[in-house]
């Protein structure tokens, strides 16, 4: 601001580092993605809903879940958006597409990037499949899967 104009604002920056615990369920989930390239799911004994990523507790029924199994790494695209809005600190440069996937047999939504397709060709209900990172480059996080791409 110009000299001798009264002070009206102060600029600052907050830098906050974090260390989130994954907890039991997601530790298991990411072990499966890293070591086996597999999607681990769990089934609630009460509502019978299949949750992928797997969790040890069903939020809907508020009960423990202990049935774990793999589901296919492909499924239906049940929601998506193409993001155009830029903002500082954004993890991806727009435009980019991400969506939610119901893995075959699962009843919860899994978010990830949708690539290898023109934005205008993306449709609700489209079948998509995980594109995996090379096994020796996987770190045991969400990007063990690079993105999802459409399949016939």
């Amino acid at each position: 601001m110009a000299e001798n104009e009264p002070v009206m604002e102060n600029l600052g920056r907050r830098l906050v580092p974090y260390h989130w615990s994954y907890g039991d369920s997601f530790t298991e989930f990411f072990k499966a993605t890293k070591e086996r390239g597999a999607i681990l799911a769990s089934r609630c004994p009460v509502c019978k809903g299949v949750m992928a990523p797997a969790v040890h507790m069903c939020g809907r029924c508020y009960c423990e879940v202990d049935e774990f199994f793999d589901v296919p790494d492909e499924g239906e695209l049940v929601a998506y958006t193409v993001v155009y809005l830029p903002f500082p600190g954004q993890p991806n440069e727009p435009p980019y597409c991400y969506g939610y996937i119901h893995f075959d047999g699962a009843d919860t939504m899994f978010p990830h990037m949708i690539k290898e397709v023109e934005f205008d060709d993306i449709q609700m209900g489209m079948r998509v499949k995980a594109v995996w990172e090379d096994p020796d480059k996987r770190k045991g996080d969400l990007f063990d899967i690079k993105h999802f791409k459409p399949i016939e």
């Binding site: 002070v7 604002e9 102060n10 906050v16 260390h19 989130w20 994954y22 907890g23 298991e28």
Partner: protein, 146 residues
């Protein structure tokens, strides 16, 4: 059970805080005139420094700005030894609650030019200003013993 995993993350957010009239007057006073500005309540007469736009007790707008200090009295202090990110100085450093002459509230600030072991309650101190000032609280370098 797999070994518990941790995910490291980082959030950096830039801010631009509006000062409002009272803090604006305080920071402008520091930048332009190397003076400390407080505000006096027209109802209860309390002088608040750093100033606020509203008297907490009377709940009315305050805009009667007065100069306080520059000297003040140390009413409490603590020597910080614990290192952390984003500190105003390298530990050990001393923070003090300073009652500036003429003010009814206290200002928290760094003490400098004094050994932490020599700081005492009731000590008289005065501000040391930076050469280059921008209208931020850090225009005040520290307070030193009179």
């Amino acid at each position: 059970m797999a070994e518990a995993k941790i995910m490291d993350g980082n959030i950096t957010v830039p801010y631009s805080w509006t000062t409002g009239p009272a803090i604006g007057a305080f920071l402008t006073g520091m930048r332009d005139d190397m003076k400390l500005v407080g505000v006096k309540c027209s109802k209860c007469g309390q002088v608040v420094c750093p100033p606020r736009d509203v008297c907490p007790k009377c709940f009315i707008k305050n805009d009667d700005y007065v100069t306080v200090g520059p000297a003040g009295t140390v009413v409490a202090f603590s020597v910080i030894h614990l290192p952390n990110d984003d500190q105003p100085a390298e530990p050990p450093y001393t923070l003090a609650l300073i009652n500036l002459d003429g003010a009814d509230t206290n200002l928290v600030y760094l003490l400098g030019d004094v050994d932490p072991d020599d700081v005492e309650h009731g000590m008289r101190v005065e501000p040391v200003w930076k050469e280059e000032r921008y209208g931020y609280l850090s225009d005040l370098k520290h307070f030193k013993p009179l």
